[in-house]
């Protein structure tokens, strides 16, 4: 397990999971990122314990005539990490506001 660097991708993926997107491709679409970026992020966070993975019920899948789908849900430490990321983001926003509006360049 071990700490995991909070990047824009991990924050986006965590938020997508937190807002109820459970399946890989759904998360992918919610983030607007390609699968080649989302999946390694999911694996990393799964391994680090921020996410919890499982499988949907087999009956539901069989009813629709397709294989089971893997599900991803937020683990407590993931919720914590997301909170920290949000706080950091708020801090950055506050710092930016303190600097005042972007000055207009004089000709």
């Amino acid at each position: 397990m071990g700490a995991i660097r909070m990047t824009q991708v991990t924050a986006l993926v965590l938020r997508a999971v937190a807002t109820g997107h459970r399946y890989g491709f759904d998360i992918m679409e919610a983030c607007g990122l390609p699968s080649g970026t989302v999946y390694p992020a999911l694996r990393r966070m799964d391994k680090a314990g921020l996410l919890r993975s499982g499988w949907e019920a087999a009956e539901a899948a069989h009813a629709e005539g397709r294989p089971r789908r893997r599900t991803y849900t937020l683990a407590p430490s993931g919720r914590e990490a997301l909170g920290e990321a949000d706080a950091k983001l708020a801090e950055v926003r506050r710092l930016l506001m303190d600097l005042g509006p972007t000055p207009v360049e004089e000709a």
């Binding site: 399946y23 491709f25 699968s35 080649g36 970026t37 999946y39 694996r43 789908r69």
Partner: protein
């Protein structure tokens, strides 16, 4: 239904570590099914799989493997040392030879834009003249008309007596045309190069100094530019100093401009080497075609000197080629052969180490089976093995690099003096890269052998105590046998190669060189034309010097010549017998020329077959007499006596009378066929324009150690002219030795390589047979308990070793036969398919194989049946 996307996922799944693979495929299948399964979505599966694969191969995991490999290697010091040293020798030999190949053959010449530099000369294979340079007239003709060269210059070597203090010194100089430095595009460090006007008759004499000469003789004084220095009796103004490292063409330290008077340009005397720089966009082929066109125009413009028919007869044509090719052509082949040879040695070394690893893997069956049982995948085991072999190979490579650094020092000491670009040889980035590459390659090669046999360990068999007679065992035995056969075959090829070179060397040593090299001291001297302006003064000098040298106590004979045999001096001219002149378009043989004083044949130990020696009265300024070699006599007057006949040369009205015929000598290379040679007196040329010989070699025939006479000879020279330096005193034996140096160098290196190959091959055979015996101890014990005599066991085990060696020898003989033709141009007096060498080598290897199998076979025959059975 399997869609394209699902097929893709299954393909990519091969990357995913085994234990995760099933779920992984299921996950992707589920998503693709739920989302219509477009290929666009599936693309990311590759990155996902790659991520999972890499996750298993983290830096941490790799470091853990390396640590485990190092620990494992350290725990078996004997195995590790044997394998490591074997590899270090193989890799070191390759690195050493490669660093030479890299510097001499691969690196560009050290000039700006050196790819555009070309050698601009002619060739005449019809009369066996590979490089036919320029005369003053051809130079001017090309200079005026070339469009595909942006610069063109000619040069010739010239030794210069430089007087700065009391001691004169002799400097390797070059006389060059004005554009010389422009062609090479190297600007002077101080002052200037040559400019228009420097080369005019009557202009102030100037010179450009080399960096080393400037540092040593002038103390690096920047004010040297503008000063006047005496060179060869001429006061020359120093106008520039070249930067460090610039010594073109020939370790040159001093450059003097050549003045050519267009009105009196020599047409037929070809002694000026040409270099040029291709114009932007021009190719070597295009420039050569232009040169050939210009050459034909030159011939047409000088019909009295040269005609197209004559050119066709001797196959005289333009030869414009890359300057680098010209410089390294002599050693190219020998170097590639050597690199190939050490490549073979490395292969043999790899085979040996692979064998060690195979034997070792056998002993680690249980360990691996345990790992597999604990969940290690095939990929994990391959990785583990490769980490171990690569660690060993890189360690061996590092050690090899050290060996190579020492080896290169040794090579440079042994290398023949003529090895071009020797100062550039060293370890640089590309050599390090090469060493890294061959280390990794050998690590993979010998690491893969055990992997192929053992990555799928037979778990149940190995875990059971004593599980040994498996079918996989047979496979591995085959692998070992294959390695031994390969080793023997490679060693045989190398032994045949070195045997052929050694026989060439012996043949060279037993060649009749035509003179007596023992107890002869030779040195060179150069008479400045300012002090010796005419034939009379030169002639007087030669008489006085000979007299003074002969008076030195212990000297049995003394004489001077333009060049002693086997000294690298080329001088030749067409000649014809006066009584049977050649036809209109017929060209006589190009006859080599030496100038000699009376007493030369005696002093050098050359037999006079007929007639007499030259006398003091002979010369272009006196009675014209010449001594010719037996070959020339045979060519001009076959079956008749040459003495009393006359030879035409230079001036048809002034023929030279043959007064003697001398036996043939090897005068250029030991391996040359006898060639026509004429010995003229020291005053050559015509009565109207006598040409005195000012560049001379002095020969002393002495009673004992020639080098002991150096100081007496120096004093004698000083007595005659205190301002003449004595240059390069050495024994005639040393001259002969140097002439064979490049062959003895190749022989030595090939011999070392073949010796290593033989040793490694022997160790290989011994190792495999020993191993087979140790595996069969139980079986042999049973058979001997049942009454099989020791001699049968002995014969059987030896037979097994000899069978492998026999196949190796057979394969090797075919290989040697195929490979040895690359040696053809390096061989002398022996055919590349010389049966004696082949049979002798095969017999040697067979004997060695016999010995290598005999020792373990003896051990097998001495097996105590009771002990052998109890061991189980």
């Amino acid at each position: 239904m399997i869609t394209g996307a699902r097929l893709w996922v299954r393909l990519v799944a091969l990357l995913v570590p085994g234990e995760e693979r099933e779920e992984w495929v299921e996950e992707w299948d589920g998503e693709l099914a739920a989302h219509g399964g477009s290929v666009r979505h599936a693309w990311g599966a590759l990155f996902d799989a790659w991520y999972l694969r890499r996750d298993g191969w983290t830096m941490e995991g790799m470091l853990r493997d390396v640590r485990a490999a190092v620990t494992g290697l350290v725990r078996r010091p004997f195995f590790t040392a044997l394998a490591g040293i074997t590899l270090a020798v193989g890799i070191g030999a390759n690195t050493a030879i490669y660093s030479v190949v890299d510097a001499v053959l691969l690196n560009p010449l050290p000039f700006p834009d050196s790819e555009a530099l070309v050698s601009v000369n002619h060739t005449a294979p019809g009369i066996n003249v590979p490089i036919l340079p320029h005369s003053e007239a051809t130079y001017l003709h090309y200079l005026e008309n070339f469009t595909k060269l942006s610069a063109f210059a000619v040069f010739s070597d010239d030794n210069v007596n430089l007087v700065t203090g009391d001691e004169p010194q002799r400097i390797q100089g070059a006389v060059v045309t004005r554009e010389f430095f422009d062609v090479l595009a190297v600007p002077p460090l101080l002052g200037r190069g040559f400019v228009q006007g420097d080369d005019l008759e009557g202009a102030e004499p100037v010179a450009v100094l080399g960096y080393g000469l400037w540092q040593q003789t002038f103390g690096g004084d920047r004010n040297v530019v503008g000063t006047v220095v005496e060179m060869d009796g001429v006061q020359r103004r120093v106008v520039g100093v070249m930067p460090e490292g610039f010594a073109f063409p020939n370790e040159t330290a001093l450059w003097i401009p050549r003045s050519i008077d267009p009105a009196n340009a020599e047409i037929g005397s070809f002694g000026l080497l040409g270099i040029g720089r291709l114009a932007p966009g021009a190719t070597v082929e295009g420039a050569n075609a232009e040169m050939q066109e210009l050459l034909l125009r030159f011939a047409d413009a000088h019909p009295e000197e040269i005609t197209r028919e004559m050119m066709a007869q001797i196959d005289f044509h333009s030869d414009l080629k890359s300057l680098k090719d010209l410089y390294v052509s002599d050693v190219r082949q020998a170097l590639w052969v050597l690199l190939g040879t050490v490549g073979f040695v490395l292969l043999i070394a790899c085979a040996n180490v692979a064998n060690l690893f195979l034997v070792r893997a056998e002993g680690r069956q249980r360990e691996l089976a345990l790992r597999t049982a604990l969940g290690a995948s095939r990929a994990d085991i391959v990785r583990f093995y490769l980490t171990e072999s690569l660690t060993l190979a890189l360690g061996g490579g590092l050690l090899g690099l050290g060996l190579a650094a020492l080896g290169v020092q040794g090579l440079l000491r042994l290398a023949p003096a003529g090895l071009p670009r020797a100062p550039e040889i060293g370890m640089d980035g590309s050599v390090l890269l090469f060493t890294l590459a061959i280390s990794v390659a050998s690590g993979v090669v010998f690491g893969l052998f055990p992997v192929m046999g053992y990555a799928r360990p037979d778990i149940s068999g190995a875990l059971k105590e004593g599980g040994r007679a498996t079918t996989a065992g047979k496979e591995r035995h085959r692998a070992r046998s294959f390695l031994v056969v390969a080793q023997v075959a490679l060693a045989l090829v190398l032994l045949v190669g070195s045997g052929l070179m050694a026989r060439s060397f012996l043949a060279m040593r037993s060649v009749d060189i035509g003179f007596q090299p023992d107890n002869r001291l030779v040195f060179r001297a150069s008479l400045p034309s300012a002090e010796y302006p005419d034939a009379a003064s030169v002639k007087e000098f030669h008489r006085a010097l000979r007299e003074r040298m002969a008076a030195v106590p212990g000297v049995l004979g003394a004489a001077q010549t333009s060049a002693v045999p086997l000294e690298d001096t080329k001088s030749a001219s067409p000649m014809e017998p006066e009584d049977r002149p050649f036809g209109e378009n017929e060209i006589g043989p190009l006859v080599n020329i030496r100038q000699v004083t009376p007493g030369y044949f005696d002093a050098m130990g050359i037999d006079l077959l007929e007639g007499r020696d030259l006398t003091e009265e002979n010369g272009a300024d006196g009675v014209r007499a010449v001594v010719i070699s037996a070959t020339l006599a045979r060519q001009f007057w076959p079956g008749e006596s040459a003495v009393g006949r006359r030879i035409r040369y230079q001036d048809a009205d002034e023929a030279w009378e043959v007064v003697g015929v001398a036996s043939d000598v090897k005068f250029e290379k030991v391996t040359d066929d006898p060639a026509p040679l004429a010995y003229f007196p020291m005053i050559n040329g015509t009565s109207e324009k006598p040409v005195p010989t000012r560049q001379i070699a002095v020969v002393l025939h002495v009673g004992s150690d020639p080098m002991a006479f150096v100081s007496a000879a120096r004093q004698a020279l000083k007595d005659v002219d205190p301002r003449l330096p004595m240059v390069n005193p050495r024994t005639m034996d040393a001259v002969v030795h140097d002439a064979m140096a490049s062959t003895s160098f190749t022989v030595l290196l090939l011999g070392i390589a073949a010796g290593i190959a033989l040793l490694l091959g022997t160790v290989g055979i011994y190792g495999v047979i020993s191993y087979v015996v140790s595996r069969r101890t139980q079986e042999i014990g049973v058979r001997m308990a049942l009454g099989a005599p020791a001699s049968v066991v002995l014969r059987e085990v030896v037979g097994q070793g000899m069978a492998l060696a026999g196949i190796g020898v057979a394969v090797g003989l075919v290989g040697a036969w195929a490979v040895s033709r690359v040696l053809t141009s390096l061989l002398f007096g022996v055919s590349p398919t010389d049966p004696l060498t082949y049979l002798g080598t095969a017999a040697t290897l067979a004997l060695v194989a016999l010995a290598a199998s005999w020792i373990p076979a003896r051990r097998a025959a001495l097996v105590d049946p009771v002990e052998a059975l109890r061991a189980e």
